[in-house]
């Protein structure tokens, strides 16, 4: 088996946090998002992370720091969104170029999955595609995902981002593809390079069985500011995470607060706030905010804001 993680997106909805950073490298409760995925993949499974040239150095630096020997960073040589191969296209190209004939554990790098991959892999049946599904309990929210119509663990239908979802069971970007279906994936990618979910519809159309692994643990698709804050609240809880060299003096805090390395907070009120490294916050009231690294705020009240790296707001 070989794990392949899609991490090539430019994540424009999370701008400016993703201005200089790939979404899978966004820290979630102090840990890069992709790390939650990779550290749960059994050690014997080689991992290939597909990203683009813009984020090459950042991923290589992360991989070196992470220290797992069988992690490979595969660079898709594009500089912008409009040159991308597409997620399925990138997968197909990797399978072709690397002559992959193993089963493939296909993951999207911007998802947080609370379940154990051991349990997921244990649920796999021989030569059958397996997808991890989660009941998000809201038909409106389901419109943004690939929905899975299942009878028990057997998948009978798959609809990618339907306008009128028939179910609240959604694909979570984690699937196990047996090597027998890889030629179908490659074939499908030629016409639909962007549509990863579409490959499941294609498999069903060709009479290939798909099983689903349903889980109740937390799952987040970190695609927006709200999702990022929600995921942080879930993982951090009603507490403060203070990374090395950070300080929180003469301040009050409510909800989930993360203070990045070497950030200094004083005389401030924080409610559900994520502060990246090397920030200085003095005499501020912040609520539902994410501050990228190197921000300096003095005497400011902010609610529901993402601030780009190096922002300086000082009340005169």
């Amino acid at each position: 088996m070989h794990a392949f993680i899609l991490a090539g997106g430019f994540a424009t909805r999370l701008w400016p946090l993703t201005e200089k950073r790939a979404k899978p490298l966004l820290p979630l409760a102090g840990v890069p998002l992709i790390e939650y995925l990779v550290r749960d993949i059994p050690d014997e499974i080689p991992v290939t992370i597909s990203t683009n040239a813009v984020f090459k150095e950042a991923f290589e630096s992360w991989a070196e720091h992470f220290g797992r020997s069988n992690v490979e960073i595969l660079i898709e040589d594009v500089q912008s969104d409009d040159q991308k191969l597409g997620a399925l296209g990138a997968t197909a190209q990797w399978i072709t170029d690397a002559k992959i004939d193993d089963d493939v554990l296909l993951l999207t790098g911007d998802n947080y999955c609370g379940f154990s991959f051991d349990a997921f892999l244990a649920a796999a049946k021989n030569d059958t595609t397996l997808i991890a599904v989660h009941d998000i309990g809201d038909l409106d929210k389901a419109k943004a995902f690939g929905t899975v119509i299942a009878d028990g663990s057997q998948v009978n239908g798959f609809e990618e981002k339907p306008k009128e979802p028939k179910t609240t069971l959604v694909n979570t970007g984690c699937s196990l593809l047996p090597n027998s279906v890889l030629p179908i994936l490659i074939d499908h990618a030629k016409e639909h390079p962007d549509n990863v979910g579409g490959v499941f519809e294609e498999l069903l159309n060709r009479g290939k069985a798909i099983e689903c692994f349903s889980f109740s643990e937390a799952w987040f698709d970190i695609g927006s500011f709200d999702a990022y804050i929600e995921a942080t609240k879930e993982l951090v809880g009603d507490t403060v995470i203070k990374e090395s060299g950070s300080s929180l003096d003469s301040s009050t805090h409510n909800g989930s607060v993360v203070i990045g390395a070497h950030s200094k907070v004083s005389g401030s009120d924080l409610t559900d706030v994520v502060i990246f490294e090397n920030c200085t916050i003095e005499d501020c009231t912040l609520s539902n905010c994410v501050l990228d690294k190197g921000c300096t705020l003095r005497g400011i009240d902010l609610t529901g804001k993402m601030l780009r790296e190096g922002t300086k707001l000082e009340k005169k």
């Binding site: 424009t12 701008w15 400016p16 601030l307």
Partner: protein, 266 residues
């Protein structure tokens, strides 16, 4: 450099037009002769001495500001005001230097001619300056953020009026289908901001994406770019906003519609 040279030339030619309009007033009043009763030389000397003072008054009205339209009534009002001050300074200067007053009609001629001449010259010169400033590469390449009805109108107006702020790129927070707007390329979403700003942008006009105003402002401050915000981003689309001050703190004000005269008092 191009802008400074053009501005210097504008200021110098303004001085010449001012003095020239006083000479024209002299000959119009006295006739095409050099009168011995009312000599031309001291008259024009005082006009020349007065001209820099008049120019300072005109500068303080921000008539030469990049964003000022020379054809606006507001601008004409400022020119009239400056010319009136110039005429008063001229009369005072003449009296202080020579202890004499002279024809009131001449002062009236000088006021009218200097006002008209300066306004016409400003209309002509600003058109020439705008053309020169927009020549490739433009001196003030401007980034438009947000594709909305208002931003489309703005781009069209800036291009039609040959405004010195030349739109060279458009970004939109959520992306848009257009590849260009009035000839200005749509470069993509805000993740291209760093790249576009790195291309020498001097002005950024935010036309939507209110939630990103802090970040756009921050990027502008870091790169020493002038940031502008369309009132429509705040929902103000009726062109009735004013920037006022409450105890020294600036506020954007939109008041109820009422008698125009109340504008002076509220």
């Amino acid at each position: 450099m191009r802008y400074r040279s053009l501005l210097s030339l504008w200021l110098l030619t303004d001085l010449a037009v001012f003095v020239g309009s006083y000479a024209a007033a002299y000959f119009l009043r006295v006739g095409l002769i050099l009168s011995t009763d009312f000599p031309f030389e001291p008259y024009i000397t005082v006009a020349a001495i007065t001209s820099p003072l008049w120019l300072i008054v005109l500068i303080t009205t921000r008539t030469f500001a990049l964003t000022r339209s020379q054809s606006s009534f507001r601008n004409l009002a400022y020119i009239i005001y400056s010319s009136a001050v110039g005429t008063a300074l001229f009369a005072l200067g003449y009296y202080f230097l020579y202890g004499l007053f002279f024809s009131r009609m001449l002062l009236l001629y000088a006021l009218v001619i200097s006002t008209v001449a300066i306004w016409i010259w400003h209309l002509l010169y600003s058109k020439f300056q705008r053309m020169m400033l927009r020549k490739d590469p433009p001196v003030f390449p401007t980034l438009i953020v947000g594709v909305t009805r208002e931003s489309r109108e703005l781009i069209a107006k800036l291009n039609k009026g040959l405004n010195p702020l030349k739109p060279v790129a458009v970004l939109d927070g959520k992306g848009c289908k257009d590849s260009e707007i009035d000839g200005v390329p749509v470069r993509g979403k805000l993740n291209k901001l760093e790249d576009v700003l790195g291309e020498g942008i001097t002005h950024l006009i935010q036309c939507s994406d209110l939630e990103q105003s802090l970040n756009l402002l921050s990027a502008c401050r870091q790169k020493k770019i002038t940031y502008m915000l369309l009132p429509s981003v705040l929902g103000i689309v009726e062109r009735d906003e004013k920037v006022e001050s409450l105890e020294g703190q600036p506020v954007t004000m939109v008041g109820p519609k009422e008698n125009a005269l109340m504008w002076f008092f509220k």
